[in-house]
Symmetry: C2
Subunit: 426 residues, 2 copies
């Protein structure tokens, strides 16, 4: 995620009331060594560079922002992935910095990326094409890449396998808490582990990708299988959340497989039934991380889940869900605890998808608020208000025309969003 605003990590902002109670216990993962440092890219007195050293042969897959003004590190990663063979794309180093997105920084930005990749390759003894990168922070400021280049040698030597919390901390910008998730799965009788970290809080409307999120597994899976699992998993997770409808220049989601866990059967296809449990676990990690991002939406006090059914197609349902999730009028009403279902009607109406006033049915929680073209006969203001008063709000919309379904998540729109994004960049 690239934000072009603040100098400090939400200086003084309280932790989101939707934050998990604690950072989860991510176990060490064979083949991954993590180290972080305070390189002074932009922030003072906090870590801002993460280096993940990956075992030789580690396979990699990625999905990225669809922005036409994608950042220099996004373009670098895409070129690396395109250069490899589909079922043998290798990664040895991941370098992530916060504080500067290296987006819209022109030729200088590209040269900075290359300088970092070449130094990382030299100290890790690999090819520059095996170095992946991500940057998050201010857009348009030249990246002080030498600050990063000069810490890489030390970071390569300092890596530890269990450093997940520190890794999640180093990549935060306006985040109010570090985001991690873990799961295990059996592949043909052998246990494998999946660990993931993410960051993101504003400029969140991922489009075919996400903020920054990095997922690692010790399973032995070729890049082509990883890519298929990741591309399928991103749809109902990161691509189903929105904080503010603004899609970042830097969205990056990568999946690395070190093959250093227990030995299991070779897997050549993502559709292999032996991968069913792994894919379910991976999808769970992706959704967990995506929900942690939306729960840390800038200024968020409520998590809103929108369930759309009965649309003409799943894609239509998704567009209707996003129309509701991105409506500032719906989001300000929920912030105020106002069961303002008329605004949901408006958002369905403007989505550009087929809808029929008289077939539409809207519920807040379990309470039906509107149906048959008007307010529900048994509508209760008290019940509707109660349904939008808690930390988690569910809005269900049945279009009544077909079988299309979607589930999307957003947060409420509060004064804190204005405060955070109206603060000056300096």
């Amino acid at each position: 995620m690239a934000k072009s605003s603040k100098a400090t990590q939400k200086g003084g902002s309280a932790v989101s009331p939707l934050a998990p109670k604690a950072f989860p216990k991510l176990p060490p993962l064979a083949g991954v060594r993590l180290s972080t440092t305070a390189a002074g890219v932009r922030y003072a007195q906090r870590t801002d560079v993460l280096l993940a050293l990956l075992a030789p042969g580690t396979q990699v897959a990625g999905v990225f922002t669809t922005s036409r003004t994608a950042s220099a590190p996004v373009l670098w990663c895409q070129a690396n992935l395109k250069g490899g063979e589909a079922n043998n794309r290798q990664a040895r180093v991941l370098v992530v910095n916060s504080g500067n997105a290296n987006a819209f920084t022109g030729r200088i930005g590209q040269e900075g990326v290359r300088a970092i990749a070449e130094e990382a390759a030299a100290v890790a003894r690999c090819r520059a094409s095996e170095v992946f990168m991500a940057s998050t922070g201010v857009i348009g400021e030249p990246l002080p890449e030498q600050k990063i280049v000069k810490v890489l040698s030390r970071l390569v030597g300092e890596g530890a396998a269990g450093n997940w919390r520190a890794a999640a901390d180093a990549i935060m910008t306006t985040d109010t808490y570090a985001k991690g998730a873990t799961a295990t799965a059996m592949i043909d009788g052998v246990k494998v582990t999946i660990n993931g970290i993410a960051k993101g809080s504003g400029m969140i409307a991922p489009d075919m990708a996400t903020m920054l999120s990095f997922v690692f597994t010790d399973a032995n899976l070729p890049a082509s299988v990883l890519q298929e699992c990741l591309s399928a998993g991103v749809g109902p997770s990161f691509n189903s959340i929105t904080v503010d409808s603004d899609t970042s220049t830097s969205d990056t989601l990568m999946l690395f497989a070190t093959a250093k866990g227990g030995k299991h059967t070779a897997i050549a296809k993502a559709s292999d039934k032996k991968l069913t449990e792994f894919r379910r676990a991976l999808d769970g990690v992706l959704l967990d991380l995506a929900l942690q991002v939306v729960k840390d939406g800038e200024g968020a006090h409520k998590l809103v889940r929108i369930e759309v059914s009965g649309a003409e197609t799943d894609a239509a349902a998704k567009r209707i869900g996003m129309s509701i999730a991105n409506s500032p009028l719906v989001k300000t009403a929920i912030a105020a605890g106002d069961a303002n279902w008329g605004r949901v009607v408006m958002a369905v109406g403007k989505a550009g998808e087929a809808a029929d006033r008289d077939k539409l049915k809207i519920s807040f929680g379990n309470h039906v608020v509107a149906e048959k073209g008007m307010r529900a006969a048994k509508y209760s203001e008290a019940a509707a208000t109660k349904a939008v008063s808690g930390r988690e709000v569910v809005i269900a919309v049945d279009i009544g025309l077909g079988q299309g379904k979607a589930r999307v998540w957003t947060c409420d729109l509060t004064h804190a969003y204005i405060d955070i994004n109206g603060s000056y960049r300096s």
Copy 2:
């Protein structure tokens, strides 16, 4: 415009700092008599019903919301227009109420519209199909149509030709000031007058139409010519503004021609060169009214004009302009006086239209802030900040790829927007 929130006309809100100094002097218009009253539809102690009595033979044209959940009066007007002959669509009465949008009110809402139309037809001695209507206010509340029905007879008798300010007052909801505009034009040597009023402040992202706006002329023009002039004029005016990206269920823009001014040549086609000046004057009135709406955007303190050039097509330029105009991150930065051009880059990137980082050029006011894929060589933070510090901000974006152009307007996003829309409906 239909808002589903507030009981009073922005109770206690100050007048927008962008408001015109005074309501313009709209002259009496031959063939139009206006009257208003406080019918108690929802608001206390203010007028909330407007009746315009139109001379026999008045021709009418309209454009309406594209929402799939359009209000009952919108559906009524559309049916009336569809029922008439293209070059002889007549209107005798316009009834507008504020306080209740009569949207998503089902069969009861349709019956309410019919009851009002039949009573208006009876007291004005015309056909129900010559009665046009618009409602604005809460969505989903049944319209208390009898409160309106019972005042119609009196309003028909009370009409005055010069009552434009009172008419503009009666149709406001969250508006902080009444909106009107006037112009004159010569048609083949004969002077004609155009008067318009509008309302709208939030739920403003008109799509093929606008909030509520009614424009009247004493020219002698058939409905088909009016419709063509109106459909052409709405694109660069009402369809080029956005307050909050939320498209109303009730957007209505109508144009009435009474033919009661000076006698001029018959005009059969909108392309007739004798209409050039009239069309320019009409376009000016439409743009004036549209800008008055965006200047009264909920919570607005700044008017932002976005000039897009060099896109592949005009449509692409419009989508890029709207992507910038609807970005909450751009709008909060402008509210704070932050020349955060990186967010403009982001909004161009997410628009889904062709863009090339290295060809993009962005200016704030006259100051070039970004070009050649990075911050401009002569960038000055002081000059950029000055350009976003006044009441009116101009952002110019040259995509550098083609000849497509668009100009759109929006306002900044401030705490007041959250206050206004987080207040409870009751």
